[in-house]
Symmetry: C3
């Protein structure tokens, strides 16, 4: 039987029969437009009774049909003018669907290749990573829009860009049209360390309108450097009501793991997180994203330096990390440059906010190596000045108290940072922590950025309890204070009601002084 | 004479004369495009001298002309290539305009049908409602864009969605093209209880640019659950400068009514508000909107449950309300479900903010009943947890004082709510009020959310003065405090300068303790 | 040789050779689209192998080629179907490029005409103004998008609108299509008195995506009433990395001038600022913009009243200013109306925020004189009420202290203004300053709006030091306070960390009392 993908110029004006699925129906003030998919290609076809009147009113979106139609060429595209259309009978339909699925599965098969760097952790994660890669490929080849959400820090951006560099060329290839990479793909940074409800409402609002307006399928959402925790549950469940697909690539502590699974897994189509296999957060999202990118697209370019960059930003250490860094060093990105670049990405992401800024971010990640160098040179000078200024203020206004076992450093957030200006308190408390730690190499240090309704924490590696333990204890003792928070073991934040400010401070400092 | 609406395929290549109005002229780098309307249909026509040069430079937008042209078909649309064009002489033009108006008036005639529920109040409001329905129909059939602004609470959304469900199918029918419902219609929630100046500037900015760019007419603005008060005057007057049409469907106290009219009426094209006929706010915007929707479109679907929902949210009571509820109960929406749904809509609208979110909101209002059920189940569980947490805080931090006649409950807003998180203080003060009232069934209660520059109030039905009386008194005694505010009789808010905080508190508490 | 600009209908179906530059290549799912420019006109051409496959894969964007192709007409546009394409050999290419440049230079030549008003200052600035005008014309005639950024006050808007009125008709003429003025031009107000980093990130993000997506050139950025200071450097340098052109029209103090140049000049394509020639800020941006508009387009309309309006808003005085005002008076805009109009523009710009609002702003500046009158009448009444209310509060809450040489007036900003409402503290401190000055005609007055991390200043002309001197002194004495700021000599603001609030107040008041 004739297939859409092998129509050629000799077929023009000829009439053929096709088995296909109706992906979309759109009424214009002229003909009715049917978008058809036969497993090989998507094609536009028209039905016409009279201007503005729905042709073949018995046909519905999603139906599998046999059509008979004449081939035309318009503006260099092949189109079909439908003469007859009949739903497939159940036997033919079953066969057609099986065939479609087989085809889709074949196309979706990821590349099961060796990792850039040999690592036991990665090997343990391989099946999970292949699952993620397969879901992403499936979305591409079934014309499902991809929405990539990632944490708005250097590690999250790293994961996002590595994946983007694998995905976009395949989308371009699948649709053969430059504009496809704007229609079938969108990336968005997210400030919070989880998929906020406000974000999912926004993403879904646009998706549903596109689904209704352009006949798009429900999207595939990729959550990178985010998505593993219970805080993500509400957003993920909401996506599932709309038939969206959701995959997660994360390395944050996801809560208690039982039988390699956590709470979100019930709702995810695929999930990779080192904690699921009993590992820690060392293999950061940028590394996982890069390796998955290679499983998606075996011809992906310009991503081999990304693991080293992400690991630098997230301060990951270990043998595998060193090997990733060797690779970056070899292509001329030494440790100093990687560190500067990580700072520049942090800085830039602060101003990029929720925008996609595809081209700008792409250049910053080295799509244009020359522009990257120029930007690092320009921005890093400026960043250094800001750091200097901020650290001067921090050193002047911080309080350092000997809490017994630990040195306690506090900075009142609003008093030492300016709204809308970089660095914000999270960054500044990190810098202050490093400064005090360097001055007192023999002491464990706990540094706190104090806000009216939050405390940002940075603790030395030697501190023998985690941010989440503090949160649990405060929650128990101040049940009316809406205590919340999270993060990594020694770096995170606690949120509470302004009304509970004094209670939280009293309890926290008592505890910290009590060691 | 040949009319646009009865052109058919046999007319292709033939040349005819038409009388029509030039709705739009657009220069391309090829031909000049004229959009023509002859009272039956809008049609695209072209004039061509050479690429990029204005054809028929003597013609102007808005002119009534006789044209002679050849019919073409392009992409399934009929088009006319203009050969000759002459302005109608004054006699012909008069006749043509009269004919257009007659036609428009006929089409605009609303459906004067019985209400879903028999009610004296509604009967009194019938002429006003018919006027509103007529203006809306007139806009649709004259290709005027409709911008529907509604209050961002459940009642406002209810009015908006009921109207939307009447309007969109007619727009689709009028233009025969799916994209028309995005080009000729836009809905937008508005947070403030009136049409803010910032909002009208935004709406007008986009409208004027569309008018200049695409030749659109000035829009019809529908204000639902908003729009009756003097606070709306500036925005409405601004709209009128631009020739926009404005209709209002509201049930808030509109200020002093004289001869069935209030201050805004001078500038409105139609207005319905129960207060204009001496009634109160019981017949909420969702009820009025639903009944008007039926006058606009006698084939409107899925709106019969909306009055019960709106009334539940706005706590409207009475015989008519009970009858509306019976209708909802009959289609399987019991009172518990309606209450939960109302809470979910409140919650969702908090995160939808100023977005249209057409599809999402539509589903929440039952366009997809299955999705609605799933969303209510998902969201309500989450909302309950938030309420519990917030109420725990409120009970802990609230101050309850026996003010003599009334119990005075105060909550410092910033201390018990978190910025950007649901519920905000307005909702929380309501919950706290209900809690204290239930504990003290024999007492009148006045509950206040205290902000640095505002006080949100909720008062028992038994309280014998209104929020606006309090505002009037404070304004008189603290003239320098920029006191403002409004709302319903026993629920509203007072705004003031932070500088006047202490004076306002002192005076207010003195007064409340003085009863 | 045949040129794009002189193709006509007789050429259809004929085959010609052309020398041209490939401005853009876009792959569709049908043919490959090449946008070609031969120095006379831009034309769309197609290459086709099979649907979705790249034709002439050896061709690259930016290449200069000889093509042979057949002329078609589609939808009234001429198109070329490319049959053969070969890169020009180096001799031919050199000649072609030289020819393109010569042509571009001829077209870019500005109109060296007398100023509206004779003035020594303007004469001194003429060469700089011609440079700016030339860069703008060059951008228009080489299809380079223009992004006009201007300060969001009346003077900044004045400069922006005058330039816009010169630029848009030329863009329309260049492209012959109505939509060009939306594709090749964008205007945006900027709140800060310099080009903020957050703004340049946003502007560049959209520009780079347009460059990648639509093959646009890097834009020309015009900074009006902004752009001359070191605070603009980071943004300007960033633009230059992307090959953008940047011109500045400003009258703020640009820092130390050496040999007619300041720090930004190294990175600008053209720059005019009266300080560069040793003058002061009297010739405001609105005047400079209007005179440059006339150099860009000798047929520009409706701009002769703009200098008087801008000067009124910026309180510029002098002989030249009087002459500009005479011109406005003559066309019926008396001083009272100009003042009111300036207030209305200030008010409107407060709500327009970062939007372009092209049509709305255009009407406010008199594109539709009738609408302008109506708006002034409507808005000014409202503004007056707001001023009255605000001044009542200011008079009640201000502190006036006899500081010895000067009267010191202070207003705590948050206490006397409402967030999001007009007037904000900058305006209010100006009004308060005028009020106290009028009450005390014999005294020098220093008025301060006090915020938690800023102080807004207005000082009498008689005060013998400038805002920047205060900033310098505070910076020296409180190095840890992140002191910043700027503005004009006697009106500006100081920013600092909230942590430094008390120190700044102590030092500042000591100093002011010490005179």
């Amino acid at each position: 039987m004739k297939q859409f993908s092998n129509l050629n110029r000799d077929d023009i004006k000829k009439t053929y029969s096709f088995q296909c699925k109706i992906e979309e129906i759109r009424q214009t003030s002229g003909p009715t437009i049917f978008t058809l998919y036969d497993g090989t290609k998507t094609i536009k076809s028209t039905g016409f009774i009279k201007p503005g009147e729905r042709a073949f009113p018995e046909l519905e979106r999603g139906q599998n049909v046999s059509i008979k139609g004449q081939v035309f060429e318009r503006d260099g595209f092949f189109e079909i003018e439908i003469k007859e259309a009949t739903p497939l009978n159940s036997d033919l339909e079953k066969e057609f669907i099986e065939n479609l699925e087989k085809l889709a599965n074949q196309q979706a098969e990821p590349f099961d290749i060796p990792f850039i760097v040999d690592s036991k952790v990665l090997n343990d994660l391989r099946p999970m990573m292949l699952n993620v890669a397969k879901e992403i490929r499936k979305a591409i080849f079934s014309n499902r829009k991809i929405i990539l959400k990632h944490h708005a820090d250097c590690d999250g951006y790293s994961a996002g860009i590595a994946l983007e560099r694998a995905i976009l060329p395949l989308i371009q290839e699948q649709h053969g049209v430059d504009s496809a990479e704007w229609f079938y793909y969108k990336r968005g940074p997210s400030k919070a360390p989880f998929y906020e409800y406000a974000d999912v409402v926004k993403d879904l609002s646009f998706s549903i309108d596109d689904m209704n307006r352009f006949g798009q399928k429900a999207p595939l959402i990729i959550l990178a450097d985010n998505g593993s925790t219970e805080q993500d549950l509400l957003a993920i469940k909401k996506l599932k009501i709309y038939g969206a697909k959701v995959v997660v690539i994360d390395h944050h502590y996801p809560g208690e793991v039982v039988n390699y699974r956590v709470a979100v897994d019930e709702f995810l189509d695929a999930h990779v997180n080192p904690y699921l296999m009993g590992h820690d957060s060392t293999m950061c999202a940028g590394i996982l994203g890069t390796e998955i990118a290679r499983m998606i697209n075996n011809n992906v370019h310009q991503i081999k330096h990304i693991p080293a960059l992400a690991a630098t930003a997230d301060r990951s250490k270990g043998e595998a990390i060193d090997k990733y860094k060797e690779i970056a060093f070899k292509i001329g990105l030494d440790q100093e440059y990687l560190s500067k670049l990580a700072e520049c990405i942090d800085f830039e992401s602060y101003y990029v906010k929720f925008m996609e800024s595809r081209g700008l971010v792409n250049d910053l990640f080295g799509a244009d190596v020359d522009k990257q160098r120029q930007m690092v040179e320009l921005l890093y000078k400026d960043i250094e000045k800001r750091y200097e200024k901020s650290l001067l203020a921090a050193k002047h206004y911080m309080k350092v108290e000997d809490g017994g076992k630990y040195l306690l450093v506090s900075l009142v957030a609003d008093k030492v940072t300016s709204r809308g200006e970089y660095p914000a308190i999270g960054k500044l408390i990190g810098m202050t922590h490093d400064f005090v730690s360097n001055q007192n190499p023999s002491r464990g240090v706990i540094s706190m950025g104090l806000g009216p309704d939050f405390i940002t924490l940075r603790m030395s590696d030697s501190v023998n309890f985690s941010v989440s333990e503090l949160i649990n204890e405060l929650t128990k003792k101040i049940p009316h204070g809406s205590i919340e928070g999270g993060g990594h073991k020694h770096a995170g934040s606690i949120k509470f009601l302004e009304g509970a400010h004094d209670e939280v401070h009293k309890l926290l400092f008592e505890k910290l002084r009590g060691f």
